[in-house]
Point group: C4
Chain length 200, copies 4
C-alpha cells in the first residue's frame, strides 16, 4: 500500500548520503601532483563507504520487496537505520582527514556496528509483522552474514589499539563478504512465484 513512499524516501536519503560524502573531498588549493597526496586517504575512505552504502541500498531493496504492509514499527525501524547510515559521511571524513588514526577508525567501526544492529532490528520487525510463514524469514535463513558482521566490527573496533591496519582490513573484509551476491532472497522469491504460477 504505502511501501512505495517508504522506498522512495529511503532511496532519497541513501542517494544523498552517498553523494554528499564527496563534499568531504575538499578541492586542494595547489594544482600539481603533490597537492593530491593528502587526498589519497580521503579517496580510499570514500571508496570504502561508497561500497558500504551501496550494499545497504541493495539489501534494503531486496528486503523491502517482501514487505506488503508498512506498520509504524517498520517505519521507525527504517528511520533508525537511516539515522546511523547518515553518520557515515561524517565518520568517513574523519578517518580520511586523520590518515586512519585509531580513535576515528573506532568511531567509524562503531557507526557501522550500530547500522548493522539497526538493520537486524528492521529485519526482525518485518519478520514479526509477516507472521509465522514469513517470506523474509525463509529468505534470510540462518543469516550467517548478518551474525558475522557485528563480531567482525567489534574485532575491528578493538584491534585499532593494536594496529589500525588490522582494523581497516576487517572493515574491508565485511564489505567483501556482503559484495558476494546474496542470492538467498532472490532465489526464494523466484521459487515462490514459480509455485504460484504452477498452481494456476
Amino acid at each position: 500500500m504505502n511501501r512505495t513512499r517508504l522506498e522512495a524516501f529511503s532511496d532519497g536519503v541513501l542517494a544523498i548520503i552517498i553523494t554528499i560524502m564527496v563534499l568531504e573531498i575538499k578541492v586542494p588549493h595547489g594544482s600539481d601532483f603533490t597537492a593530491m597526496k593528502p587526498l589519497v586517504p580521503v579517496v580510499i575512505s570514500y571508496i570504502l563507504s561508497f561500497i558500504y552504502i551501496g550494499i545497504y541500498w541493495n539489501n534494503h531493496h531486496h528486503m523491502m520487496h517482501t514487505v506488503k504492509h508498512v506498520s509504524g514499527g517498520i517505519l521507525w525501524a527504517n528511520l533508525h537505520l537511516l539515522f546511523w547510515l547518515s553518520l557515515v559521511p561524517f565518520t568517513t571524513g574523519w578517518i580520511g582527514e586523520n590518515h586512519f588514526a585509531p580513535v576515528p577508525m573506532s568511531v567509524y567501526g562503531f557507526v557501522l556496528l550500530m547500522a548493522a544492529i539497526a538493520y537486524f532490528i528492521l529485519q526482525t520487525t518485518i519478520i514479526r509483522a509477516q507472521g509465522e510463514r514469513s517470506l523474509l524469514a525463509r529468505a534470510v535463513g540462518n543469516d550467517i552474514k548478518g551474525k558475522m558482521s557485528p563480531i567482525l566490527y567489534l574485532l575491528g573496533i578493538g584491534s585499532n589499539f593494536i594496529s589500525q591496519w588490522i582494523s581497516g582490513g576487517l572493515y574491508v573484509l565485511v564489505a567483501l563478504i556482503w559484495l558476494i551476491p546474496d542470492k538467498r532472497i532472490e532465489i526464494i522469491l523466484r521459487s515462490e512465484s514459480e509455485t504460484k504460477n504452477s498452481k494456476k
Copy 2:
C-alpha cells in the same frame, strides 16, 4: 491525480533536510577522544531534529493519504510547511555549536512553532477542500496533540530565559508525544475501507 508528484517533491525535500543536517557535524581536526567532546551537543541536537523531521514525514504521509485532488491552496500550504522545516538544519546547527544557549534555543523553538502552525494550516486547507464529510476531519478528531504542541513550544521558548534545560525538556516532550504511534488516521482509514467492502 497529481498527489503523487506533490508527495515525491515533499519526500525529496524532507530527505534532503534530514540528511544535510549531518553536514553541521563538522569533521574535527584532532584524532583523539578529546576531539569528540565539542561534538556531543551537536550530535544531541542532530538526534532531536532527526526525530522531529521523521515525525513530520510520517504524519505528512498519513495526511496526504486522505487527499484526492491537490488544489493550489494545498500546494502552497505544503510549500509553506516545507519552508519552516527547511530552517531546522540551521537552528539545529546553531544550538549545537552554542551548547544550547538561550537565544538559539528560543529560535529553535520558534521555528518548530511555525512549522506546527504551518502543519495546522495545511490540515485545515485539506479538510476544507474535502468538504463536510471530510475523511481527514474525522481522522484528526479533536486533535489534542496538534493543539498541545504549540502551547508546549511557547512554554519552551519562554522558559529559556529561566533555564534552557527546562526548554530542552519541553522540546523533547513534544517529540515523545508524537512518537507514540498515532493510530487515529490509520484506524479511520481501515474502518472506512471495511465499510466499503461490506456494502459490496
Copy 3:
C-alpha cells in the same frame, strides 16, 4: 511514456535547489540576538528565492501535465531551465551576504531573466511538438505573465544603479504576479476532460 522520469529528475533537482539554499544561512558563532542581525538580509533573500523556486516547480508541474511524448528537444530545454535555476542558490547567497548591493542584485535579476527565457523556450518546444491543436498553447493563451516578467526583470536589473530598493521591489512584484493562482491550464484541462466525458 518517459515523462514520469523527466518529472522525477526535475523534482529531484528542484527539491535540492530549494533545500541547499539554506546552507547559505551560515550558523553564527555568537549566541545572542545581535548575532542574528547579519542574518536578516540572508533570510529575506532566502524567502524570496524559496517562493521563486516554488512558483517554478508549480508551473513546471502544470506544464508537464500536457506533455505526452518527451522528445530530445524537450529534454534539453528542460535541462537548460534547470541550469539557470541551479544558479539561484549562488545569487541568493551573494545578495544576502552583501545587503542587496547593486552588482549582486543585478546578477540575481539576470539569472531570473535567463530562467524566464529558458522557461519560455521549454514552453515553445512543447507547443511545437504538440502540433497545431496544442493543449498547452490554448492553456497559455496570450501569456501576459510570461511576457511581462522579462520586462520587469530588465527594469529591475537597470534600476539597481539608481536604487536597489526599486530593483528588489520589482523582483518581489514578479513573484506576486505569479503567486496569484494561475487557473488557465487547470481550467482548460478540466473543460477538456469534461468534453471527453460528454462525448462518451
Copy 4:
C-alpha cells in the same frame, strides 16, 4: 520488475551530483564586478560538467528502457558508474579554482575516462543479460561514439602537458559529439513497437 527503483536511485544520485556542483561556486565577499572575475573559470567548468552529467542522465535513461530484469551484475555496474560520476563535482571545482591548470585538467579527464569505461561495462553487462537477440545491442550498433570518447579523453589527458587549451577543447568536443541527438535507441525502440503492433 525492480527497474523502477534502480532508475529512481540513479536519478536521485545524478540530480544531487548536478546540483551540489553549484556549491563549488563560492559566494564572493566583494560586491562589485571585479569580485566576479575569479568566478569566470568556475562557471565555465560548471557549465561543461553540467552538460556532461545531463548527457549521462539522458543516455542512462534510454539504456535502462531496454532493461527488463535487473540482475546483481547490472546493479553493481550501475553503482560503479555513479561512483565515477560522483567525483565530477570535485574535479570540476578543482579545475575551476586553478584556472584549468594541467594537473587538475588531467585528473578531470581521467575521471571522465573512467566514467566512460564504467558506462561501457554497464552497457556490456546489460547486453550479455539480454542474450543473443539483445534489443540494446542492436540499438547501440557499432557504437562509434562510445569507442571514440575514451580515445579523445586519453588525447585530452596527454595534451595537457603541451597546452591545457587543446585538452579543454577535446573535452568540449566529446560533449558536442554526444549532444547531437542520439536517435539510434529511439528509432530501434519505435520500429520494435511498430513490428509488434503490425503483428497484432
